[in-house]
Amino acid sequence: MSSKEWPLYEVFIRSKSGLSHRHAGSIHAADDQMALDAARDTYTRRNEGVSIWVVRSSEIVASDPAETAAFFEPAEDKIYRHPTFYDMPEGVENL
């Protein structure tokens, strides 16, 4: 059997409870369990985490940078979604 590269996994770490998991980097592993161990041994050597997610990189669906304009710019002009859009009359509180 010829050597085949172990698949790539993306590693996400929750640094402490209450926070979201955040992308830390990636590792190679032959299987899911190995990926978890490798993520632990690589990315939490300095006590950086309380929870780890690993996912095969090939399983991630990503938006296309070439479509960035079409994908994200339409949100830019919906300024009425932000509270600062509205001027409240003087004297009105708790709003």
């Binding site: 190679h28 592993a29 161990d37």
Partner: protein
């Protein structure tokens, strides 16, 4: 044997096991099969070296002659080290390392579990800390022995060879000597017979999952606990100790 002497011997032996295993592991740094596994190996070795330091420091305090952790590690002769023969065996290939760690850690984890409840508070405290580390080591290495055993025909044959050749060093782990007995009687130390039964069950389960054959119990090599080692040991200690020996009294 006095109770105090047994306690000291027991603690320094725990230190010896941790140090010698850690020392063997650092020999293979930068030679592991994959980068991710390199990081795992270093983590394990750091855990063992850390445990050795805690046990030796305590041994020095028990002895009361002002010896430090480094005096225990670097200024004792071969026959004063009482680690088991299993862990001083040369590294061999990756399957040998994994098998050695599965055999030892399956024993050590049970031992630490029992030591957590012993009457010596300091040992109990170190054991509680070490137990968490070893639980992870055992899990990691168990996965590896299963991958190798149930991987390719080549890996299966190689790791079965490791199991067969290292088996003769497992008996010593469970053969109590006067130190073990005194420690068990006076300090509520582990019952090695019970640990052996548990070990056999655990190892059988692991080897079954790895599609490997558990060897029949036969002749077992003994002597490490009494300071009588295999020939490899002298070289290992000579290498480890040379700077301290060459520059007596120097600080590093």
């Amino acid at each position: 044997m006095t109770y105090d002497a047994a306690l000291l011997a027991y603690v320094s032996r725990l230190g010896d096991n941790a140090l010698i295993l850690g020392q063997r592991m650092v020999e293979v740094v930068a030679a592991y099969p994959e980068l991710e596994e390199e990081l795992a190996n270093a983590n394990f070795a750091l855990d063992y070296i850390g445990q050795a330091r805690m046990f030796y420091t305590y041994a020095g305090e028990l002895e009361g002659k002002g010896r430090s952790e480094d005096d225990f590690a670097f200024l004792r002769d071969e026959n004063e080290f009482c680690n088991c023969l299993l862990i001083e065996q040369p590294n061999g290939h990756f399957g040998d390392s994994v098998t050695k760690l599965v055999f030892f850690d399956a024993f050590y984890l049970s031992l630490l579990g029992a030591l957590k409840g012993c009457k010596d508070a300091r040992i109990a405290e170190i054991a509680a800390r070490a137990e968490k580390e070893i639980r992870y080591h055992l899990r990691h290495n168990t996965q590896w022995i299963v991958r190798l055993g149930d991987g390719t025909a080549e890996s299966h044959a190689r790791v079965q060879g490791s199991v067969d050749s290292l088996w003769k060093y497992t008996g010593e782990l469970f053969a109590p000597d006067v130190v073990d007995r005194t420690f068990a009687d006076e300090y509520g130390g582990p019952d090695l017979e019970a640990i052996h039964d548990q070990w056999k069950t655990d190892v059988k389960t692991i080897l079954d999952e790895a599609t490997l054959t558990m060897p029949e119990d036969g002749w077992m090599a003994m002597g490490g606990k009494a300071g009588r080692h295999t020939e490899h040991f002298g070289y290992m200690i000579a290498e480890m100790q040379y700077l301290q020996r060459r520059h007596p009294g120097a600080s590093w």
